[in-house]
Every structure is written in C-alpha cells, then in structure tokens.
C-alpha cells in the first residue's frame, strides 16, 4: 500500500483551474460523524460531537478552537492515540483508504509513522531522551521498511538536511537535550517524516516556541508539505498560525465544527457568530484606549452539554430557536459552511 503515491494526481487538483476536466480526486482523509466520549466514574465528557470533514491530498487543514473544543481529540482519534479503555468512539475515519477505527492494534501500528505521522507541542516529551536523534530516526525507518542500518542512517542524514538542521552529520549523534528548542522541533519533524507519510498530524507544534523560531518552523513545515506532497492537519488555538499555514480552516466549539472553509473565507469573511467573536477578541493592534470585544462567559462544559446550539448561551445574537434546536452546517458560499440558524440574517 505504500506505493500508492498520490502525487501524480494531486498537483492537478490544487493548481489547475480546469477542475471539470480532470478525474475527481478522492479525499486523503475522511471523517464522518465522529463522536468521542471519555467515560469515567464521575462523568462522561462529550469531547467530539458529530464531526465530519474531508481532507484532500496536499491540503493543509487547520483546526482552530479554544481549549476543550475537541480539536486535539479529533486529531488523536485519527491516529487512534486515545486510551481505548476510557474512550468511546463512533463514526468513521478513513485515511488513505484505511478504515482507522476498524483496524486491529497490529494494523494501526503499521499505519502510524508510515502513512500517518504526528508531531507534538513538546519535542522534549515526544523524543526519547536516552537515544540519539539519528537512532530515533533510523528506528522509525527500520520499523516500517526492510533496509540496512547504514542505509537507514544515510536516510536519517538526508532527513536532517531536509528539515534544515545545520551540521547535520554531527547532529545525528546528538541527544535531544543537546539541541536548542527550535532544532529539537526540527528533529521531531524529521522523525515524523522518516517514512514519507501521506498525512501529517500536527498538534500545536509551534506553540511553545519563541516568535522568531516559530516563524522559522512554520515556513519550513509549509515548504516540506509542498515538497513531499503531504496532507496536513494542523491543530492550533493561534489565529496567526492558522493564517500563516492553512489552506482550509475548521473552527471548533464544544466538540463540533461550527465553520469550515478556505483560510481566507473563514478569517477574512467569517460567518459564524463564534468565529466572528473569537477574531474580534483576539488582540491585534486594537485601539489602546478602548475595551476589547469579549465573548462573555466561559467555554462550554463538555460534561453537561446544553440542548440546541452549544454556543447560544454566549452568543450575542441568539434567539429562542437557538436554545431549542441544534443547527447543522449549511453553505454560506461555495465551499464555505457554517452551523448557525441565523446565518442568513447576519451580515
């Protein structure tokens, strides 16, 4: 299955305007009506509630939302990284033709690292402190491909060069603690890319980095995505990061996607009241002598979900209908959806 290179069709989908004349490209990943609940003795947390989306090959999808919106959980379920005993998952997840939720533990292990890879916020916890960077990359390669040690090492070196780590040869034998934060993040990306995955999942990989380093890593990720033709799902709470890297954006609130569209549609012409309020309350050069617009109240309590629209209790324009019936995603414009009853009356 690893020879299923989509690169031959993918560039067409993205760059050519003649969409009608080319064969329909099937999505790289498809999530359908995903529900994730965490059960404990005290409560059931409804972390993800009916999330559906498609990711096309070579697309970068950013999932943005506040803490507890379900963005990380959605992503982790795509790699089946949630604790199986406490988690109840329903729905369908398909990545590159594999039905992720139906695979055996053995099969999913084979998929992880080879076709789907993930990078995390904290490279210091994602990398193993007692092995060198080179060893961790070669281990990943040899777990999935029958290559010799020296061949794996040669590829590890290539990978470090790919992620622009200076003096890569000596860094192969460095331990994670010997690298700076930015280099560690690059090393983690190298490990994740070691088997040329089709889908890269990124969970706030630049949040812990300094501003001058964050932009380096974002520029690098975008270059690598393009060079390797990967699909990327990138979870972040930072609108600036999403604006920098996303093709498409999904906005999540209380475990639901409330808005979905191209980066420009969502960030420049937001439709959902939550997206609008979130953008307005983000500090970016507002007048210093005036209050910032805020979203009143606190994020939704996922142990006790309210009926109707989950955002209604904090929404500035909600009507009685919103408290009774949950809205579903409807088209605002072409390829731009929002889940709000009042979408047509808002301007």
């Amino acid at each position: 299955m690893r020879n299923l290179q989509t690169t031959s069709v993918a560039p067409v989908a993205k760059d050519m305007p003649l969409a009608g004349k080319i064969p329909v490209v099937s999505p790289l990943a498809r999530v359908k009506d995903l529900n994730v609940q965490f059960r404990s003795r005290d409560a059931t947390v409804h972390a993800v509630n009916g999330v559906s989306f498609d990711l096309m090959p070579r697309d970068v999808l950013c999932i943005i939302g506040e803490s507890g919106s379900g963005k990380s959980v959605t992503m982790k379920s795509m790699m089946r990284l949630l604790p199986p005993k406490k988690t109840v998952m329903t729905g369908e997840i398909e990545v590159n033709g594999h039905k992720v939720l139906d695979l055996s533990e053995r099969q999913i292990r084979h998929l992880r690292g080879a076709e789907i890879s993930m990078i995390f916020q904290e490279p210091m916890t994602a990398l193993d402190p007692v092995y060198t960077i080179g060893r961790q990359i070669t281990e990943a390669i040899r777990a999935h491909e029958p290559v010799t040690t020296s061949e794996a090492r040669r590829r590890a070196l290539e990978l470090l060069e790919l992620v622009r780590i200076p003096s890569a040869v000596s860094r192969l034998d460095a331990y994670p603690h010997e690298l700076s934060g930015g280099l560690r993040q690059r090393a983690m990306i190298a490990v994740a890319l070691s088997c040329k995955p089709k889908l890269l999942l990124a969970d706030e990989p630049t949040t812990a980095l300094d501003a001058t380093v964050q932009i380096q890593v974002l520029v690098l990720l975008r270059q690598l995505q393009d060079e390797l033709g990967m699909g990327v799902i990138f979870v972040t709470h930072d609108i600036g990061v999403a604006a920098q890297i996303a093709d498409k954006i999904a906005v999540m609130y209380a475990g639901e996607i409330v808005e979905f569209g191209s980066a420009r549609d969502v960030l420049v012409n937001p439709a959902h009241p939550y997206t609008r309020a979130m953008l307005a309350s983000t500090v970016h050069g507002q007048a210093r002598d005036a209050d910032l617009p805020v979203i009143p109240g606190d994020p939704a309590d996922l142990r006790r979900l309210v009926a109707g629209c989950r955002f209604a209790p904090r929404c500035g324009v909600s009507k009685s209908l919103c408290l009774e019936r949950a809205p579903s995603l409807v088209g605002v414009a072409a390829h731009h959806d929002a889940a709000c009853h009042l979408i047509n009356s808002l301007t």
């Binding site: 001058t212 380093v213 420049v268």
Partner: protein, 343 residues
C-alpha cells in the same frame, strides 16, 4: 499620558511622593546563576539579568518583551525580591528597598505579582475567600475585616461573592482562577503589580476579558503595571512603554507606539517582523531571523545579538553597545542604530 522626567528624578529621587517621582527606579541590576551539574570549579554562569537599568513612572504600564531565556521573568522576581540580586539598586517611590525607607514588608504591601499558572498560584486547600483574605490577615487585619475585603475584591474582579467565595480552586475555570489571583494581588492595596505572563495561558476570548479587567483596575485603583509577556500584540495593547530584552540586557526601551512603528534595534525589528498576521494574504515567506536565541551561559564579549544580527560588523564583536539615550526617552543599545534607522 505619562511622565518620564529623568532630569528631576536625578536631583530628588529619594523624595517620597510627587508625580515626578518614579514609582520604581532600577539601577544596574544583576543576577547570575551558577550552572548546576557542571564540572567542579566550573565558572559557567547564566547571565540571566546583566546590568539592567530603567524607571517606571507612576500610573504607567511598562511592557517587558523578549524570548525565553532573555531574563524577563528573572527580572520580575528580582523586582519582587523573590530572589536576591547579585548587585544593583532598587528604589520604590523614593525609598531604597531593603533600607529603613522601604523595608521588605512595606514593599510587599506596595508591590504584588500575578503569575502565569493560575492553578499552581492558588492553595488548593483554601477556599477562594480564605486565599484572598490571607494577605490582609498576615498584615494585621481582623478576620471579619479581611473577609469583607475579600468579598469586596471578588466583586471588583467580576466574580459574585455569593457564588464564588466558598468555592475551591478546582471548581473554577482558568479565567476565573486568574481573576482570583488578581484579587489576591490587590488585597493589600498595592500601588504596583508585576504581571508575569498573566494572560498567556488563557484562551483568547478569556484573555480579552482579563485584559479589560486589568485596564479597568489600573484606572480605578491608579495602579502601575509591569507587564511581562512574550505576546507582542498583547503588550502593544496594554503598555505605555515597552522594554525589549535579549540575553539579560535591555536592547531597546521607549514609548510603545514609537517602538512598534519604528523599531531601532535589529533584534526589535526582527521580533516585530516575526509577528503573525491574522490575514492569510499577509503570510511571511522568509523567517526574519535564523537560529535560536543563544545560550545565556557565559555570553561572548561584544554585542550579544551579533551572531544572529544581519548587520553585525567587527566593532560588534569587540565592544559591547551601551543603552544610548535617543529622542523622547527612547534608548537603543546598538552601535549602528543611527545608521540603520532607515534600514
């Protein structure tokens, strides 16, 4: 909007009171940490804060920005006397701290701090009310006075006492906990508060709520803030002046509008250019700086930024630039600030 009257402070800085008397004067503050685990007799030292001098005027908000390891949090802790400085002088409203003019107990009444982690700052075993009343009790208030004060402060920070007074920290959201921390910092009626990444861990919608609260409190209680943050947008919104640190040194300080409009130090320029726009049409194609902030252990001679500076020359390797006075209270520590003004 604020006064930075350096001439008059030079003549009568020991005077208490008066608008011209800065709230805080910091002179040549230094803190080096010995590196643990290094070889015996090692001389490795982290130059966390290395000769920092500035003043904070009454009623103003001084933003402190810089990347991790630049010493901004150490600076906050030194000002608060949570750790002792190696050398340097601190003068709070005319009284040298640690002398009879401004003993530590009196400083702590006047100067308080709010930290980033709202959970670990609160005692999990104390109710909100008890936590807030703790400071006043220690400083001699009766139980009923302290309780009344706590309830009063809960109202001020936007939490209803009838709902929240008896609750424990684990029953609150992050934003609510940070409001409690602010109330607790206010419990001794301080004149100045150091906010160390106080809104950084909050979600954006909650961050805006807390920033509005901080602005209102500043006005109502005539507070002076030192606002330490890595978030350049937030600092721009809340601050009157801004101080930019790099490896334990101030590289630039001045009015926030001037610095954001026309940064003079190459590091400030790069830092501001690394800010991400919220519009996908304004993407950054090329990172303004390469490399990471260097290790602050035993920094090399000369300018500490030179290894990453696109304009570095021979002089930068030998001579350390000093923080030079510019027009309108702006100071820049760069040999070529004048030359690069239009770059």
């Amino acid at each position: 909007m604020f006064l930075v009257d350096t001439t008059s402070t030079a003549t009568d800085e020991r005077d208490v009171g008066g608008a011209a008397q800065p709230m805080l004067i910091v002179r040549d503050l230094k803190k080096h940490f010995a590196v643990r685990g290094a070889a015996v007799r090692s001389t490795a030292r982290v130059h966390a804060v290395d000769g920092v001098s500035f003043t904070v005027a009454k009623g103003e908000t001084l933003g402190v920005v810089g990347e991790s390891g630049c010493g901004k949090s150490t600076l906050g802790k030194l000002l608060m006397h949570l750790i002792d400085a190696d050398s340097g002088e601190l003068i709070f409203d005319g009284g040298a701290i640690g002398t009879r003019d401004m003993p530590l107990t009196q400083l702590r009444r006047n100067l308080q701090m709010v930290f980033q982690d709202s959970s670990s700052s609160l005692n999990p075993r104390l109710s909100i009310e008890t936590s807030i009343a703790y400071g006043p009790r220690v400083h001699g208030a009766s139980a009923s006075e302290a309780k009344a004060k706590a309830r009063d402060l809960l109202v001020r920070v936007g939490l209803r006492p009838d709902i929240f007074a008896g609750r424990y920290p684990h029953e609150l959201s992050g934003g609510q906990k940070q409001r409690v921390n602010i109330a607790r910092a206010l419990a001794l009626d301080p004149r100045m508060i150091i906010l160390d990444e106080s809104v950084s861990a909050l979600d954006k919608s909650v961050e805006a709520q807390v920033l509005n609260l901080l602005r209102r409190l500043r006005e109502d209680l005539r507070l002076t803030y030192i606002f330490i943050s890595h978030d350049l947008n937030v600092v721009q919104y809340i601050s009157d002046r801004v101080l930019v640190m790099y490896m334990g040194k101030i590289v630039e300080i001045g009015a926030v509008d001037e610095i954001y409009r026309r940064p003079r130090h190459p590091y400030t320029k790069a830092l501001l250019r690394s800010r991400l726009s919220s519009s996908p049409d304004e993407r950054i194609k090329l990172a303004p700086l390469t490399g990471d902030p260097p290790n602050p252990i035993n920094p090399p001679p000369g300018c500490r930024f030179r290894a990453r500076c696109p304009h570095a020359r021979d002089l930068c390797a030998t001579a350390e630039p000093v923080l030079e006075d510019g027009a309108t209270g702006r100071k820049v520590a760069c040999h070529f600030a004048e030359e690069l003004a239009d770059a």
